[in-house]
Symmetry: C2
Subunit: 156 residues, 2 copies
DNA sequence: GGAACCAAGTTGGTAAATGCAACTATCAGG
DNA sequence: CCTGATAGTTGCATTTACCAACTTGGTTCC
């Protein structure tokens, strides 16, 4: 049986099948497959903290505080969407804002102790469903996989 | 300074490998970022065919026709959501429905020639975006990255 | 200094995607 | 026949997103 991609690939392109070509196709397919299920998996894992909200808190933590514009750029979201997500997180007491002393247009966003605790809970609940899938990977493979994903995403 | 992940990890877990923990968290965050960008990029590249709709047509193609219930199970979506997506695709002329002769409750869904062509176009445009992004990667890294993604997704 | 312009964030309006619940139609067992 | 399960549709509410207009603060250039 022919590979799936051939069903909708023109004849001329079929001659170009190098291993690089096939790997690229595979990356696209696998990344797309991930995207398909990301939403529902996230909803299962931490209903009280949406995937986007969790990731925003995570980035703030990682960077030791960041601005709304940073979140918008990183996740490719409109600044208005970020503004509302941040507002919701603040209302929940999960983050605190502070006007950037260096630039009064912006705010520095940081998770609050409550937010860190909520992240910790979400993190624990993810373990079973997400981390267990990587349980049989060795440390070097996990590190390399993470490095590839970072490299891929850093191209933005 | 302690690693970031320790801020919301309990004391007992700190005995585990911190580099492994950090890599796992990085994978989560990068995959999340990817999922967000995939939607936005797909919407840019082919407004007529959302990522979910494209993937549904793709699954129908791969399976040589499938039912709405299959789509719901595969993508972890509610059947009402599938029903509306399928309705929209039919209205666009991208798929045809046929009552299952074996079970008159269900329908067999197949992409139409128009749908296949739309998929081919969307596929090519998205593939081009991937090619640009990975242009400066060498073949070995691309192959390894693809292998990791396949391994990760194969757990489904 | 001031004008013109750019950047960060907020808010109003709107559209799309989704889940839940209620409903119809169909099937399978007893 | 009933009963219960399954496939699909539709009404309703919610979430999430984008765009555009606006406010405020910074930057450049004269």
């Amino acid at each position: 049986m022919q590979p799936i991609w051939m069903y909708y690939t023109t004849v001329n392109e079929k001659s170009q099948s190098s291993s690089r070509e096939e790997s690229l196709r595979s990356i696209q397919r696998e990344l797309t497959a991930f995207a398909r299920r990301a939403r529902s998996r996230a909803a299962e894992l931490h209903p009280e903290l949406s995937l986007v909200a969790f990731s925003m808190l995570d980035l703030m933590t990682e960077r030791g505080g960041c601005r709304g514009a940073d979140l918008a750029a990183y996740f490719m979201l409109d600044k208005s969407t970020v503004s509302r997500q941040v507002g919701a997180l603040e209302k929940l007491g999960y983050l605190v804002r502070e006007t950037d002393p260096e630039d009064h247009r912006g705010q520095i966003l940081r998770p609050s102790p409550t937010g860190l605790e909520a992240m910790r809970v979400a993190y624990e609940r993810r373990r079973a469903a997400f981390f267990d899938r990587l349980a049989d990977w060795d440390d070097a493979d996990i590190a390399q996989f993470a490095a590839y994903l970072e490299r891929y995403n850093s191209a933005f």
